[in-house]
Subunit: 201 residues, 3 copies
């Protein structure tokens, strides 16, 4: 119940981020819904496919589609106000990343994967929705260019597995890791920390 | 047998639409074949992956690949004549959409999914081949921009489930829904009905 | 053991080709790693998904991710020298294509597919990593435009199945087919053989 509530919050935040970008691209109503939808469920869908968890989560649980449809309608109605709350969006998005990363890791542990693979799955869950969104909008995915986005997921995942080596309970390690991801992302954006671009000028 | 014949007709129509676009993009022979192929099987492949119906249909049934290879060869040989029959292409394409939507819905019912998910699967089956085609050709998918395409699939799916609530036999409901999709699409294009673009100018 | 060694060599070659292209696109460190990663595992991942071999190979076998991570680090450190060894890269890449095609065919045979489907799976294994790489970098996939790339995979696959009809042992047919693919690709590039573009000017 607690996990579901958090998952839904993340879904809403990601759906809104997709809607905003789809509207910038001047897509029609269906396009806006689809971009919102894939941004919200794309990462979890790829994760489910890769580990063979099919039918994928959003097909088994209609709550995701209903949530996203409602979110898109509300987002379109209140789009002018949304522009003023981009900062809270960033916060929701960041919360979503934190929880999605750990949810992906948990799915990897259930499938008895190694920690490296679990962290990879967590990162895919948190970041791939945005990748699909950008591909559908014909952009080089922003996550590859200037966001310290996936790096934060990887760090958070590493923190989780390090904490599991301590006497700390798994549940607390889970929460601490989520908070770490959220904090690191906020700090990275606040202080404009990014990965170096690896090229010769 | 009846379903297979219809499915093959839809496959041919979608393959031709892919060939025409690939040739506009000046792809080579292999590129033209691949674009024809993914346009024809892309939607059904994503549907199969999402619900765990693997190996996916076109791998289990070689008839699809043979049909598409033959279609691409014929389309390339008669490309100049194809330009004059774009209207019949639109008709074939529309027939394909109608049947693909209902075939996708049937697959969803076989997997015991809810009506909303069945309609989503039908829409994916009918429209995602074109989305992959456009991504591979480096375009924003046309279905997101100006076509009342997926909307018609969704309406047709809704009609099907409404008809199932009446005393009408399922087979008749199936056929009536297909005819509804085809008619709605023709009317929408004839009268230039499209979804509103959701943006501020 | 022999197969694994070859597979790893192909993985390294494909990862390096991804790194070089990602750096031309000025992606950040994470982007460079991901493009190297998908170039190396993308084809095998799509093959595994299509036939239902899940979790996909790179999730079950951490050796691939470790290999790619190491390759990306080394490639970035020695990028200036890499520019001078593009010819050996072409050779590694070509070796990779040869082995990936036959590995894909073997997976198809294990899944009891027809020869046509096996060749399709081999071609997907060898070429789809490059397709995903180009899509993520916002390019029309090069394989669709001017490379006689997939054609060579298909020819090599056809040679393999023809040889299986002879008294030649399957293992020798495997090796001869790989050598055929490598030779055909080198000859095609040396003599600038390419598929005709199918369009009116």
């Amino acid at each position: 119940m607690f996990y579901l509530a958090i998952d839904i919050l993340g879904t809403i935040a990601f759906a809104i981020s997709g809607v905003l970008i789809a509207m910038e691209k001047k897509l029609d109503l269906f396009g806006v819904f689809i971009i919102g939808f894939v941004t919200a469920v794309g990462g979890g869908t790829l994760r489910d496919l890769l580990i063979g968890n099919v039918p994928v989560t959003w097909i088994k649980e209609p709550v995701y589609m209903v949530t996203i449809a409602g979110t898109v309608i509300v987002a379109i109605l209140f789009v002018n106000k949304l522009k003023y709350i981009r900062k809270s969006l960033f916060l929701f998005d960041t919360i979503g990343i934190g929880f999605y990363t750990l949810i992906g890791i948990e799915k990897g542990l259930s499938a008895e994967l190694t920690p490296i693979m679990c962290i990879a799955l967590g990162t895919i869950t948190a970041s791939f929705g945005g990748v699909i969104r950008d591909i559908l909008c014909n952009e080089i995915p922003v996550v590859f260019r200037k966001e310290i986005y996936a790096t934060v997921c990887i760090l958070g995942g590493a923190i989780y597995f390090l904490l599991l080596l301590t006497p700390l309970k798994a549940d607390y390690a889970f929460v601490v890791s989520i908070i770490s991801i959220i904090s690191l992302r906020i700090l990275a954006v606040k202080y404009k920390i990014s990965l170096p671009n690896i090229y010769r000028s």
